[in-house]
């Protein structure tokens, strides 16, 4: 274990320690902020309860990311290809960020029913925005000189995309994806407000209404764990893909 990892662990340990101390010294009631020991204990002891819910949420997150990528990637390419599309889409995209879930929840239910689809859509909507924007900025950051070179070679738009703009935008794309997978967890949770029967978000609302705050935080711990795993995976893929840096 190297020095940097050690330091990292120390920092995390101290955050946890401060949290624990805060709870004990100020005697913060468990239903306001449970101490980490209790949260960890609940996360493990109630794994039998948490695990099936976590599975559902994980599935929603992964599907949400897929759907998001499926829309964000072509859309950002389209916006990049045509500035007027960008001009037209930007307001719609920004507007899409301003719509809170409860306003559209009935619509989603009307259109998609109570199954997984509405949750996946909510998660996708949330992840979608940072990916589209960062990818678009990535494409745009390509030096004009290189674009010209490809023009001279008679490259079609798609060839330029594949061989020039994409590799160029990759670091940006991964930055966006990192933001995306992190907010995906909250996306799925919000999605589960749209009438779910399962999932960590559903469990949390239930537990919260019953003031079982330790269970709420245990669910958050699982969520965070899932978020970190995906973050790590994206980092791994990034290092594999962007090797020339």
């Amino acid at each position: 274990m190297n020095k940097s990892t050690l330091l990292a662990m120390l920092l995390i340990a101290s955050v946890v320690a401060i949290w624990e101390a805060l709870c004990r010294v100020w005697a913060i009631p468990v239903f306001i902020l449970p101490p980490p020991t209790r949260v960890f204990a609940t996360a493990i002891v109630r794994a039998d309860l948490l695990l099936p819910h976590a599975g559902v949420t994980a599935l929603e997150i992964v599907s949400g990311i897929m759907v998001s990528l499926g829309v964000a990637v072509p859309l950002s390419m389209w916006m990049f290809a045509s500035p007027s599309v960008e001009k037209a889409m930007a307001p719609l995209l920004v507007t899409s960020q301003a719509v809170p879930v409860f306003a559209v929840a009935p619509l989603l239910v009307v259109w998609l029913g109570y199954g997984m689809a509405s949750k996946v859509l909510m998660a996708a909507v949330i992840i979608f925005f940072p990916i589209t924007i960062t990818l678009l900025e990535g494409f745009k950051s390509c030096d004009a000189e290189y674009r010209v070179l490809f023009d001279l070679m008679g490259a079609t738009f798609w060839k330029k995309m594949r061989f020039l703009y994409w590799p160029w935008a990759l670091p940006h794309f991964f930055a966006g994806l990192k933001v995306g997978v992190s907010v995906a967890t909250i996306g799925a949770v919000i999605g589960e407000w749209v009438g779910a029967q399962m999932g960590l978000g559903y469990l949390m609302i239930q537990a919260n209404a019953r003031l079982k705050v330790d269970l709420v935080f245990a669910a958050i711990l699982w969520l965070a764990f899932m978020g970190l795993t995906m973050w790590g995976l994206v980092g791994l893929v990034e290092r594999r893909t962007v090797q020339w840096k």
Partner: protein, 291 residues
Amino acid sequence: AERLTLMLDWFPNVDHLPIYLAQQRGDFAARGLEIRIVSPSDTADALKLAASGHVDMAVSYEPQAIIAASEGLTVRVFGRLIEHPLTTLLFLRNRGIEAPRDLIGKRIGYTVPGLMDVLLEAFAKINGIDDYTAINVGFTIAQSLTAGRVDAIMGPFKTYETVVLDHLGYNAGYFELEKWGIPDYDELVFVCGTAAATRHRAALQSFVEAVQVGIDLARQDPANSLEAYLKAVPEADRRTETEAFRLTLPYYASHQRLSTVRWQQFADFALRHDLIERPVNVDHLLLQETE
């Protein structure tokens, strides 16, 4: 079997116990019904979706149904689950609050803006609380009370938040609305859209009958009924729900006849106190054979 979807007002809780009981015992199936129970994301969703016909039935609140009627939503009320208000003005005991007038000059929270703040206003006016600060606390009920951010809250249920607070070691007191000048009303009711009201008329009738059977059974055999419910809703917390069930038991509907007079009284009260803007004639709202 006739398939119907029921949307609850909120996540499943003991208020809905008779429904789950009827489901578990096969009372719906016996009447040729196949009921699917779903939860909403917001308490207003169920009514909206029922009114638009996207769900067949919904659990709603009498005040909400009256607001909807006033706003021109085409809903019909065809049954009830809880026949008196559970909503209270809740406070912690041992903090010097005995009567509503003790709240003069205090900070009073409320849970749902647009609904509970209006009820609070009416409650204050009727009971002479002429000076107070209203604070929207959302659903941070126990936290804001125990942390002393507010002195009382309009909105918590006397059958639920009291139990939760008790388990946290706090003794909660409350003012019941119907005892302090606000007309009595049906806390939880069943609503449907106009289309469903005609198309599924018979099925809706069978449904409330089955629910009423569930209610009666819960009264006769509380212990087994609770077990059946806990089996249907495994996420529920046994200790809290047991206690809440005991407190809710007296409030389940004793029969399914809706009182036009009582509903009209509340509608008039709502108009008087700005809960609604346009008058509501409950004859068009209530769906029943005869009063």
